[in-house]
């Protein structure tokens, strides 16, 4: 009998529909920064877990960049052993509460779920989130026994998803791990980029605290490349270095008026709101423009996060300006859906070409062009082509440019022997992330360009094994 036959047989017996996730009402949630999806109850989680048919050759696992034993943890959920399920996930993923919220599950594990071929796939991401939240709320997060110290010291640069993952793996192998973070708080994009309503910061703090309990040392306010170079780290006695510094630098479109006041990069807009808590100004000191007519340029997840932040900051009109159509938008379907429910206006096939400012240098209008789709480009998406003579203006008082990032130059600039490609990303020799500099590994956005949290974590995991072999051979 094939898996599909079994599915059908089981389904005739009991067809449980994919369990929906309760959410905050859109009309209420645009007035707060609280999390939008509210999570499964234990009963709903068990019901959803029972949908899993426990495939012998589970496709879901091959779709997971960190190889979680998905049928294994789901079986434990179905049995009501939620803490056992949490332990099972943590064998390979140290940030389940984060991944359960921000992973693009529909393109990874859930895409390959057998049930998805005929019905809806098992809600793996929601179950992962449930299990992690259950364990945290139960206050029973276990600290595993660690092996004897190896005496090897490893420096991790950047406390984002890649850095936190590799630190967790290496400390569990008995190494002494120090993370250096330039910001005043650990978490990287999880704290400066992803808004509270999608990933509560208390969850990131709890995951960071767990690593510290495992013995990982975190040094904040440390700008590696400036305060200490990579050479300095080796001179201080570190045996290996992992660079997980993210892509960082924002991209602008280089169009007239782009530096007017009121125009932000998505990085700045989100950093002010998330990391610096500008949405709670003046209780917190960092200000942010609370625009009435806000345009966000771009169609990715970061653009969705920005436009939904703008609504919560009080925007009357919040637009997504995207030069292709909804089909080509890189954002997750769920995020687009949430934005639509909240009243975001999507202006597709539209591209800004100039900003017009007022007498004080504050943006007041943007000039846009209409586009149409031509032949596919190198990314496989149909190339937007300008419709001649189609210029029109939109009134805006705040603009957020979310068209991507490029590599931050500081570490390559100050590290001799570290090769970068023509876009400034660090060149790695193989998939473990080994760089051209001996003893130095790199992973995450600084290697691949901007990607997802889970891919950065996957890079951290692969490098951990290679660094372990390297330092043990010294």
């Amino acid at each position: 009998m094939t898996d599909k036959d079994k599915t059908e047989k089981k389904d005739k017996k009991e067809r449980i529909p994919r369990q929906p996730m309760p959410e905050q009402d859109p009309r209420v949630r645009i007035g707060n920064f609280d999390e939008v999806p509210l999570g499964y109850s234990p009963e709903t989680a068990m019901l959803e877990a029972r949908r899993c048919i426990q495939c012998k050759k589970p496709g879901c696992v091959t779709g997971c960049p960190v190889d979680i034993d998905i049928p294994g943890f789901i079986r434990l959920v179905a049995d009501g052993d939620f803490l056992g399920a949490a332990r099972k996930i943590k064998e390979t993923n140290c940030l389940p509460a984060v991944c359960g919220r921000v992973c693009p599950q529909e393109d990874q594990c859930e895409k390959l779920c057998v049930l998805g071929k005929k019905w809806d796939p098992v809600a793996i991401g929601r179950l992962e989130r449930f299990v992690a939240d259950y364990e945290r709320n139960a206050g029973t997060v276990e600290i595993p026994a660690l092996p004897a110290p190896t005496g090897k010291r490893i420096a991790v640069v950047g406390a984002g998803p890649a850095g936190l993952t590799i630190a967790g793996d290496l400390v569990k192998m008995g190494h002494e791990v120090t993370i250096f973070e330039a910001l005043h708080k650990a978490g990287g994009v999880l704290i400066y980029g992803i808004p509270e309503f999608r990933l509560p910061k208390s969850i990131v703090d709890a995951e960071v605290e767990y690593l510290q309990k495992l013995g990982v040392r975190i040094v904040t306010d440390a700008a590696i490349g400036r305060l200490k170079t990579i050479d300095d780290l080796f001179a201080e006695g570190f045996h290996a270095v992992f660079l997980g510094v993210g892509a960082g630098a924002p991209v602008f479109m280089n169009i007239p008026g782009e530096n007017f006041s009121g125009i932000y990069s998505a990085n700045e807009y989100l950093t002010r709101s998330n990391l610096m808590k500008a949405y709670r100004f003046p209780e917190f000191d960092t200000p942010i423009a609370r625009g009435r007519n806000v345009a966000v340029i771009g169609g990715g997840n970061v653009a969705m996060d920005s436009v939904r932040t703008a609504l919560r900051l009080g925007a009357e009109k919040a637009y997504i300006i995207y030069r292709r159509t909804k089909t080509e938008m890189p954002a997750r379907a769920e995020e687009v859906h949430h934005a639509e429910e909240e009243g975001v206006q999507f202006k597709f096939l539209t591209n800004p070409i100039e900003y017009i400012g007022d007498e004080k240098g504050w943006v007041k209008q943007m000039v846009c062009q209409r586009m149409e789709l031509g032949e596919p480009d190198e990314s496989g998406r149909r190339r937007p082509v300008v419709v001649k003579g189609s210029e029109f203006t939109i009134d805006v008082d705040t603009v957020v440019v979310s068209v991507g990032t490029m590599a931050n130059p500081v570490i390559p600039m100050t590290t001799p022997g570290l090769e970068t490609n023509r876009w400034g990303y660090i060149v790695t020799k193989d998939e473990t992330g080994e760089t051209t500099r001996k003893g130095v590994w790199a992973g995450g956005d600084i290697v691949t360009g901007s990607a997802t949290v889970i891919l950065a974590m996957g890079a951290g995991r692969k490098a951990a094994k290679a660094i372990h072999d390297y330092v043990m051979s010294l």
Binding site: A182, L183, H184, Y192, T220, D221, A222, A223, R226, L227, K228, G246, G248, A249, P250, F252, N254, E258, N259, F260, S261, G262, Y264, S265, N267, E268, T271, R272, M276, K277, F281, P282, E283, F284, D285, T286, P287, A289, K360, G361, W362, N408, P409, V410
Partner: protein
């Protein structure tokens, strides 16, 4: 955590604070800056390092009280702490191979200029300093500046001390008198730097300005500190803080500096009223 070891009110609204930051003190070079955050609710603000003592492990900053954060900073006394200090950031000043340099400083900018003049002097450069303030009471670092300069000119806008006029007037006179100048460093209020750049432009004298725009992370990630230089967008935190004064779009810099004027006023008033007791 960075403990404050010394605080001096230099003049009305201009304060010097010395605090512990041993690693930055060892690494820092002239022209570099820090981002500091007083506490976990504070904002991140950039300040140029005026001096450092690698032995004591301390940094010196001089700042004008203009908003909530500088107001709060000025109230911190020896023994109090600054929670977060990131640095040293930015490129150090290029000080090699300059025969004669004119260092033009205005107001609190003299604090930023002084370490550069000092570093130039140590490299054997002939240093002519022109420092100025609105009025005598607001002039800072006169003796320190004199000690690192071959020639020192002092100006006040109201004529209460030194030359009655602007720093740019003295510079114009020096150029007119045929003084051979290889480079000008101009640091102070944006309008002053713009005027100085306009004075030197027709003479082709390379003029370096140090910019202090609004900044958040300070590591090149956010783009808040962008300025237009030579028609191109630059990030002050990683590309600067010093730029060719003949290329900087000062008008744009001034308007971006005003971006949060209203909120800054609001925050400072709350702070003054004491309902924000931190």
């Amino acid at each position: 955590m960075h403990r404050i070891t010394e605080k001096v009110v230099l003049s009305e609204n201009i304060v010097k604070t010395v605090f512990e930051a041993p690693e930055i003190a060892r690494k820092r070079r002239a022209g570099q800056f820090i981002i500091l955050m007083i506490d976990d609710r504070g904002e991140r603000i950039p300040l140029t390092i005026v001096d450092s003592d690698p032995v004591k492990g301390t940094l010196t900053i001089i700042y004008q009280v203009v908003g909530k954060t500088t107001d709060q900073l000025a109230r911190l006394e020896p023994g109090d702490v600054i929670q977060h200090v990131l640095g040293p950031l930015g490129h150090p000043t290029e000080i090699e191979g300059i025969g004669t340099a004119v260092c033009v400083g205005g107001g609190v900018g003299i604090g930023v200029l002084y370490p550069i003049a000092k570093a130039l002097k140590e490299k054997g450069t002939r240093v002519i300093s022109i420092i100025g303030a609105r009025t005598k009471k607001m002039l800072i670092l006169e003796e320190e500046s004199r000690s690192v300069s071959d020639e020192l000119h002092v100006t006040t806008d109201d004529g209460s001390y030194g030359y009655h006029g602007f720093v740019s007037d003295v510079l114009r006179d020096l150029i007119a008198a045929g003084t051979k100048i290889d480079r000008v460093f101009a640091i102070g209020p944006v309008p002053m730097m713009r005027v100085v750049a306009n004075v030197t432009r027709p003479h082709g004298i390379k003029t370096i300005v140090s910019l202090n725009p609004i900044m958040v992370d300070g590591t090149g990630m956010c783009g808040a500190c962008r300025v237009t230089v030579g028609g191109k967008t630059k990030f002050t935190c990683v590309d600067g803080p010093e730029f060719d004064g003949h290329e900087v779009d000062f008008g744009l810099l001034m308007s971006r500096l005003q971006m949060y004027a209203k909120q800054e006023q609001e925050a400072r008033e709350r702070c003054r009223c004491g309902d924000h007791d931190r």
